[in-house]
Symmetry: C2
Subunit: 548 residues, 2 copies
């Protein structure tokens, strides 16, 4: 029997309309390349988004066209989020910090018709322009006064384009499963792959993510999304904040600079912020060095990589800030799990609580998860069994742009049962808290058992003279693979292989103990700063364990 | 361009699965006719819901069948919510306090195949049973020990039925627009009309309603839904609470009894509760009389009728409890608007804040609203213009069961533009706060202008000797209609018409001043306790204003 409810589609434009009608006075503060502190309101923002929609029509952009952005977190990028998606086009956010050949690959793969480009990214595109045959025009995100001299063809000025347009525009309503945005994965385990979000997935993700025990989006918050808008939609903040009427503070290009962040947080009274671990280490170090504080801040959310315990402890003890760790990926919009206490946990000691916060959190409503063994059989939630992590839900990708959409087939990440294979290896404890132990591609398979490379790395970096460490599996005639530890020492250190092995002795199970330690000057990283084990394995291709 | 996201359907069963996996230990405490304080956990509850699903299969209930419930707020009713809807059948909640002929009409109109009946409702159904030809069986919501002697045919015992079943059941996944539940309107303005909810509308309503600035559902809350589960799904609490892992306290049949409520709240440490104004008046009076307190409670939500200022003031001043008024209707699932402060309102005086709380709140994300004049032209949000309130959104009804689904046609509440006509008359202020001023059918049309009957009533009841008042429009040769005030005086009072008119003089605009006052012993009410102006107008059909 069919229900008798309205068939109202979940549209990104409805978030904007809600924000405009209910919170016209809420503020958006941005740092941009052309303005150290731009301020306007949701009302101004809604007007400008409609001007942008009219400008897109004038440019000749059509329903379904991919419109690329290479930009930082600021109000213009936010306008693109709403103006492009709201009009039925696809807002393709591109990470300008990827290697140039990756940026080139992505733009051509998505077939972007227009690129909206931050001032600082102009040189990169000038270098690539001859390899971008499908791009019809470049719109520079600035005003006439700041327009650069450039060799880019068909260049336009964003502010000039907008200024000619009317602020009236009726957002069209269409099928909620229409593509709204596109984002390529970080390329840690291979080439970046294109994820295509829908209006439906985006609105549901914003709803699920706004819940009180998830990110708790509220008019009371002033939110500073440090995680870039080219990185999985800044984890959904641009949608959740507008839905709730939060004041938004957008850090622009100065995302990783402790001084700028502290200043922004202090002067704008930021209460909540989100970012990857390295950002927080930088900020914490800056605060420690200068003795400055950020008293308005109450919570930070951390994800994208495991959050080191020290971040949680330093925020808690030095700044009375609660760290909320989440796990997710480009393919999950990104919200998968997030830390939150549960009923009955009020008696936990501070240490026990921090133990929990070091895990990756519990599943949010909307995401179902399971861990499976090599035969795709479900494993128990006992905190011990570990296997491939699979997820499903309305904001999980069903495939990649241009690759097979057939579950179970080559290129499609979804199995025959409808579960998305995350490529992560995890345990889940009896209370439902997830712990990522490794990536499937990085796990070390020794004598039929799986050893977590991350566990070895964590143990190694707890040595005071180890600056960074990577563990990879290398061929072993008897055990197939055994762990090899690759270490970068602190400057001036002269610790030996034996000392490191000795140090790890009672920290690791016998099976996880590295068979050897190799010292290097530096480790390879991906463009997003993650350890690049693919490259490391290649470098050490010919490595052989010493025969004892 | 189609997005590449999973087509996971929004299913009520996914709420249960989430609750079961993530909050197995969360508690559900119920008062039932056969147990003064039943306790179990989400885990037990999930098992029993699956037993119920198996029992329904055994009974022969099929996908789409309507399964009626006549029950109070307790765990068994909650199991019906999930077990019936989760299996793809329609959980039809029936208000046992309606007039018997209305109950009869509703059961036959919905063609319920089975009825799940609370012990206390057995006598009502015994009286009706011969007029319920489609009902194939009656399941009494109790255990074998408490089974009543009854003349009902095909009687079964709920606990016996469940105990035979396995706790394993795979919830089916199907189109999210499938009917999940059914509820008839209160019948204030005519015959009750059947609203048919979907899995989609229910899940979206729970998400939208759980938001931090809406109802803020959280694991931290202990929630007591006093609003009945036969009344618009207890305003969605059974879904929102399980989504968040809140402890639930279910008051059973003793919903309107101050002593029972105070005791439940105190012993179970309830923090949040929802109900209609009369419930709160009863509780407040009981607390005042006995000097008892409810210190665990921090918020109550009030809706279903305008919340008198005194409720807000007494809760605030005597108990430090925040009142959150919401507006909604059976057709809106029910959440339409709800009170919440906005950024920039921290400086409001307590009086100004209470003024705001007396309004019906702002639109929640998901519901769009507009007020229109008699030509369906949109009116401004200026707090002055008032017109017919129309809404749209994914949890708003598109029609009534058995009536026309064609927008704009007779029987269909949706206009040609896709807006649902609420039958309420309202203003919206510049900050987006709604004020219900009347029902379309009750508004008094005098000399081409609209006068709010509620405004007159509010003014009248502020007279210390007026117990209750109703204002209705009566025929006037010159003005078409003029207001007539009908008053019930406090016992022993002998206030005169002149004194009342004198009292209203500087409280009402001239156009709103009643032309006459009629005193009566009591006013007619609907089964849900609302003023029955339909009946009142009928009683006073022949009334004529005195010629001056
Ligand atoms: N809190 C966390 N703890 C540990 N790992 C995390 C956490 N959050 C995210 N991750 C890791 O980041 C991954 C998602 O990153 P992202 O989507 O940016 O691309 P990538 O997986 O690094 O790149 P590619 O898929 O192209 O190889 C997850 O699969 C997981 O391995
Ligand atoms: N906070 C509120 N303030 C004023 N009125 C309210 C409020 N909340 C609900 N109402 C009134 O209650 C109505 C919804 O009630 P409900 O769905 O129970 O059925 P009904 O309208 O009373 O009955 P019927 O539609 O059968 O005539 C709204 O249309 C509105 O008139
Ligand atoms: Mg990945
Ligand atoms: Mg009604």
């Amino acid at each position: 029997m069919q229900a008798l409810m309205m068939n109202t589609q979940l549209m990104i434009s409805s978030i904007l309309r809600h924000a405009d009608k209910n919170f016209p006075d809420s503020e958006i503060v941005s740092v941009t390349a052309d303005n150290p502190r731009h301020r306007h309101t949701y009302k101004d923002f809604a007007n400008r988004s409609r001007q942008l929609a009219n400008a897109l029509v004038e440019l000749g952009a059509k329903f379904g066209d991919r419109i690329g952005t290479l930009a930082w977190n600021d109000y213009r990028h936010l306008e693109l989020y709403y103006g492009v998606s709201g009009s039925g086009m696809v807002c393709h956010t591109i990470n300008p910090k990827l290697f140039p050949e990756q940026v080139n690959y992505i733009i051509n793969h998505a077939e972007d018709r227009f690129l909206f480009v931050d001032l600082l990214v102009v040189p990169l595109l000038e270098a690539l322009k001859d390899h971008l045959p499908k791009v019809e025009g470049y719109i520079i995100l600035t005003d006439e006064a700041h327009m650069p001299k450039t060799t880019l063809p068909n260049v336009m000025c964003y502010e000039t384009l907008l200024s000619k347009q009317s602020t009236s525009f009726e957002w069209p309503e269409f099928d909620e499963n229409t593509a709204s945005a596109m984002c390529y994965t970080s390329g840690t385990t291979g080439n970046p792959k294109g994820v295509v979000y829908s209006h439906r997935s985006t609105v549901l993700h914003a709803l699920g993510g706004s819940m009180p025990d998830v990110v708790a989006a509220s008019y009371k918050e002033t939110t500073l999304p440090i995680v870039p808008m080219f990185h999985v939609n800044a984890w959904g903040a641009p949608y959740a904040a507008l839905m709730a009427g939060s004041k938004m503070v957008m850090p622009g290009p100065k995302m990783a600079d402790g001084e700028s962040l502290q200043n922004l947080i202090e002067t704008e009274k930021v209460t909540f912020s989100s970012g990857v671990p390295t950002i927080w280490l930088g900020l914490l170090d800056y605060l420690e060095k200068t003795g400055k504080t950020i008293p308005s801040m109450t919570r930070v959310s951390v994800g994208g990589a495991a959050c080191p315990r020290t971040i949680i402890e330093r925020f808690k003890h030095l700044h009375n800030i609660e760290v909320v760790q989440g796990w997710g990926m480009t393919e999950t919009s990104p919200l998968g799990t997030i830390f939150c206490k549960k009923a009955g946990m009020d008696d936990l000691t501070e240490e026990e609580l921090i133990d929990l916060q070091c895990l990756q959190g519990r599943g949010v409503f909307g995401i179902e998860m399971r861990i499976v063994d090599e035969n795709n059989q479900e494993l128990p939630w006992d905190g011990v069994a570990f296997g491939a992590l699979k997820v499903r839900g309305p904001w999980v990708a069903s495939g990649y742009y241009g690759l097979s959409q057939v579950p179970g087939s080559e290129g499609c990440p979804v199995d025959e049962l409808g579960w998305f294979d995350t490529g992560d290896v995890a345990t889940i404890n009896p209370q439902g808290y997830l712990q990522i132990t490794d990536r499937t591609k990085d796990v070390i398979k020794t004598g039929g058992e799986w050893v977590s490379s991350i566990e070895i790395e964590n143990a190694a970096v707890s040595h005071p003279e180890v600056a960074e460490a990577a563990a990879i599996g290398r061929y072993h005639p008897k055990w197939t693979e055994r762990p090899l530890l690759v270490v970068v020492l602190q400057a001036d250190s002269s610790v030996s292989t034996e000392e490191i092995i000795e140090f790890l002795q009672n920290k690791l199970h016998k099976i996880s103990m590295p068979d050897d330690v190799v010292f290097v000057e530096e480790l390879p990283h991906t463009a997003t700063g993650k350890l690049n084990k693919l490259a490391l394995r290649k470098t050490l291709e010919d490595y052989q364990f010493p025969t004892k």
